[in-house]
């Protein structure tokens, strides 16, 4: 049985990091949140451009994304800052359900400077309390892990994605919770994912998500040629969305999907879960983070450099040019697979060992290089 060194949260969930998160509810509160981050060691702010005059399911997704970041087990405590108190309190309340310390602070009636002072004092106490939490041993099955590929090329489908597939199969066997998404990048391979659903009901739920997405594109009178594959994909040798999708789904491994989740929905089933997500890297990883992923595994061909503010993103590439020209961004080089120096099981073993050490505190390239992209998904226009 493999173990990792993690942080236990009040609700029993296990984190791999120990941040105090400063969450701006809206665009107007970014300045105060960044002010607190610059004053207080150990805090991390997640500025974003939204939160005003959103409505309906789009507003609900923003609440779910912001509170999900706070709920994530990699976060020890959170401060939510908003221009007015109602929505701010709403997000804070959802974080408080996990039992972790959280405080809501609104700017109206006091201004940025008094807000920053109040939030900074709170955050300082939270950081001190968080610093007393010690890592201890947990079974690897306690982890929620997500995966996505970006700036893919044919080496992704040949080597790095199948490596993740072998790793995912092993983690399913060991009882971990695994997430996979990228609805748009399944076009041409959607049948492959549909056939891996554990029940006919899940298959139907998945196909509805896929078909709704396709209809949304045609509703705009649009076509994704020109966006999918991307210019980077094409440079790397991918010619069509079908080819990209068939490479993408290699990450899923051989296991069945036990559940189909909506955007940022927290998984309740162990094993492989499908989540509806955009295929844009930062949006997708943000949705996984908001659903509670504590480590992310990101495969790249041409060299995507994305990170996340609270989830370590392990970068793996099999492209020999990328691992040499962009080495500072790549955590695991599996280009030896293309030279037939070792097989997929060996590559997956190396990734497994890196996953264990990363979950136990080893910093990833994105964390060291400060790639902390936080991009909430917006479903439609604001009021």
């Amino acid at each position: 049985m493999t173990t990792i060194q993690g942080f236990e949260r009040e609700n029993g969930k296990v984190g791999t990091r120990n941040y105090v998160l400063i969450i701006p509810l809206d665009d107007l509160s970014n300045a105060a949140a960044l002010g607190v981050e610059s004053l207080v060691y150990g805090t991390r702010a997640i500025p974003h451009p939204y939160g005003r005059l959103q409505f309906g399911s789009d507003l609900e997704l923003l609440f779910k994304t912001l509170s999900g970041m706070g709920r994530n087990p990699n976060v020890a405590a959170a401060v939510v800052i908003g221009i007015e108190d109602n929505w701010t309190q709403k997000v804070a309340d959802r974080i408080a359900e996990t039992g972790k310390p959280v405080e809501a602070i609104s700017i109206e009636g006091k201004g940025d400077l008094k807000t920053i002072e109040k939030a900074a004092r709170t955050a300082k106490s939270m950081v001190q309390a968080a610093s007393e939490k010690k890592r201890r041993e947990f079974d690897i099955s306690s982890l929620v892990i997500s995966t996505k590929c970006g700036e893919s090329d044919t080496t992704s489908g040949l080597a790095s994605n199948p490596t993740v597939g072998v790793l995912y199969d092993r983690l399913v066997e060991e009882g971990a919770t695994l997430l996979l998404g990228e609805t748009s990048e399944l076009t041409g391979a959607e049948h492959y994912i549909a056939n891996k659903m554990a029940t006919p009901q899940l298959r139907e739920k998945f196909m509805k998500i896929f078909n709704d997405y396709t209809q949304e594109i045609t509703r705009h009178g649009a076509d994704l040629l020109g966006s999918q594959p991307t210019q980077g994909n094409i440079k790397g040798g991918l010619s069509t969305i079908e080819e990209k999708a068939l490479g993408n789904v290699q990450k899923a491994g051989k296991s069945k999907f036990m559940d189909v989740l909506d955007y940022a929905e927290e998984p309740t089933k162990k094993g492989l879960n499908y989540m509806n997500t955009s295929s844009a890297a930062a949006e997708c990883v943000t949705l996984f983070a908001a659903a509670g992923a504590v480590v992310h595994i990101f495969t790249t061909g041409q060299g995507n450099i994305i990170g996340n503010p609270i989830v370590p993103v392990i970068k793996i590439s099999a492209n020999p040019k990328t691992v040499s020209t962009m080495s500072e961004h790549i955590d695991l080089d599996v280009s030896g697979l293309l030279r037939l120096e070792y097989d997929l099981n060996e590559a997956a073993n190396r990734l497994y060992n890196l996953l264990v050490s990363t979950a136990s505190g080893r910093l990833t390239a994105n964390e060291i290089l400060r790639h902390f992209e936080f991009v909430p998904t917006k479903l439609y226009i604001s009021a």
Binding site: T154, L158, G237, P320, R339, L340
Partner: protein, 96 residues
């Protein structure tokens, strides 16, 4: 060194794992059964790009991973570089 890999025995294309020169005869490996094949390239093929393992007729589906990845928009000779200049998606790109 093997210069290209092929996902399945039924594929029409291999993927170069190193830059291939025009006129170079290169060996590839089928990843499903480990068997090998030799092809003479008639174009320059950059690392990661595809080489035709057989003649493909215009209008014929192009197979990789044992699945259609698109359709040939012109006749493609064995050994050619296969990319967006001679194949297109069956799913998107039909608006114009």
């Amino acid at each position: 060194m093997k210069k290209f890999l092929v996902h399945t025995k039924s594929d029409y294309v291999g993927v170069a794992v190193d830059d291939v020169r025009e006129g170079e005869t290169v060996e590839g490996v089928y990843m499903d059964d480990g068997s090998t094949v030799k092809i003479t390239s008639i174009n320059q093929i950059p690392l990661g790009h595809k080489i035709a393992l057989k003649d493909i007729k215009r209008g014929e589906k192009v197979i990789e991973y044992g699945e259609p990845i698109g359709v040939a928009t012109q006749d493609i000779k064995m050994g050619s570089h296969v990319h967006i200049h001679n194949i297109k998606s069956l799913r998107w790109g039909n608006l114009s």
